[in-house]
Amino acid sequence: MADHRPNAAPAASLSGLTKRFPGFQLGPLDLVLEPGTVLALVGPNGAGKTTTLNCMAGLVVPDEGGTEVFGKPVHSTRTEYRRDIGYVGEENGFFQGWTADRNLKFLAELLPGWSHDRANRYVERFALPLDKPVNKLSRGNKTKLALVAAMAHGPRLLLLDEPTAGLDPVVRSEVLDVLWEITEDGEHAVLYSTHVLSDISRLADELVFLRDGRLVLRTGRDELSEHWRRVSFRLADDDVELTGVVEHRRVRAEHQVITREAELTLQQLTDLGAEAVEVSRMTVDEIAVQILKEGHHVARTES
């Protein structure tokens, strides 16, 4: 999916991005997002996902480092880069007493490149009620409105903070379909943060795991599921040390392990003479949970 044209600027590039708060530091983060890519920021609460997105949208000024969007520097005093960005945050600043329709009309006059056709198309797909005041909309409908507002001016980079939170399964599926379609042309990119790990396997090409403000791991979705396995086996030796194992349980005579280096672990088990070896694949969200649980350990070994 990624655009490999030699002169194409990255959709977004973060270089040494650092933001300090009392008791918390984000970064330094270095990250490049190519056009045509969907990148998921995954991490527990307080990992720095929202701050990263806010820095990229120009809403938070980093202490060090910076961000470029399609080659244009993100700076609070400039507006050139904003045309390329569609941002959905936890709060989106709508006039709460106005209807969704009126808010969209206001934005149509404010945002260059706004397309009424595009806006109407998304409104229909998301079944967004336009006639209700924003403060009477459910959380899901507010998210839908924010998505329409973020996409109607045709940005090339979508920054989405928990875009599927509060959505019912049907609309959630529709939203994920739309995001997938957007990146299909190879010119658009999506960077989103999520707690809903099942979204990852559906949408993300690449995953970035954040923990305590630091990048723990960046990996392709397929690459990730290639190496992680759940393995059960029988072995006389109780104190066996296996390479790549992140979780080890003993159920009577049977050992159950989760490994992030399946080939090495299986080779070791063969060498040790393990019996009844059974290997099963893990879903991407199961792997993500393991990585978040083992965040520090993975960071150390991957580096």
Partner: protein, 212 residues
């Protein structure tokens, strides 16, 4: 910028109309009561003018609070507005509310005259002085907000400057009330108001976090 300012004025117009409606009601009640009380003139013009001016000032505080609560900066900064333009929207909004309430003053004065039967117009310069005072108080809202934001974002020097200007404006207002109740005093008040507006804009531009 003007589009955003107009939108904010339209959004909060019911608050302003409501405030002016209450002010009119109070003035009319006062005028009628004074008409039927013995030997009393109508309420002095500066008293009549005070109510709509207070309405404009209060609505500017309400608008500031709502805009902050609704995270309006996020919406406006997603468009073509720079932080400087957004800051001007924020500081011009109180000026517009007080300005619109000044426009309502002659209408309410006329209604009070009709209700009271007679009227005392000799205090109109005092009403003008009141208008300046209430405008200044309204402009202290954004300045105080930005001074707090600067301290919260650990821009301590900026925060100190903001609060120093805040205190300075209050001193000028107090001084003008006590010492300089003249054209020169009014001029000083206008200078203080403009300084408060400019400092609020500069502090806003220096923000490191526009999410709130």
């Amino acid at each position: 910028m003007w589009h955003a300012l107009r939108a904010e004025l339209v959004y909060f117009r019911m608050w302003l109309l409501g405030g002016l409606g209450i002010a009119t009601g109070v003035v009319l009640l006062l005028s009628v009561l004074m008409r039927f009380s013995s030997d009393a003139d109508g309420p002095p013009s500066f008293v009549v003018a005070m109510f709509p001016l207070i309405a404009g000032m209060v609505v500017s505080f309400i608008a500031g609070s709502y805009r902050s609560e609704e995270h309006r900066a996020r919406l406006l900064l997603s468009g073509a507005l720079t932080p400087r333009q957004l800051a001007w929207v924020t500081v011009l909004l109180p000026a517009c509310f007080v300005g619109l309430s000044v426009l309502a003053v002659p209408v309410i004065l006329g209604m009070a005259t009709l209700a009271a039967g007679k009227f005392e117009y000799s205090h109109l310069p005092t009403a003008g002085s009141f208008a300046l005072q209430f405008w200044a108080y309204a402009q202290l809202g954004p300045l105080g907000q930005e001074s707090s934001a600067a301290r919260r974002q650990h821009r301590n020097r900026a925060g100190l400057v903001g609060w120093a200007v805040f205190a300075g404006v209050i001193l000028v207002l107090a001084g003008c009330q006590v010492i300089l109740r003249s054209t020169q005093g009014h001029l000083w008040q206008v200078v203080a108001i403009v300084v408060a507006m400019v400092v609020a804009v500069v502090l806003y531009q220096g923000r490191t976090d526009f999410t709130r």
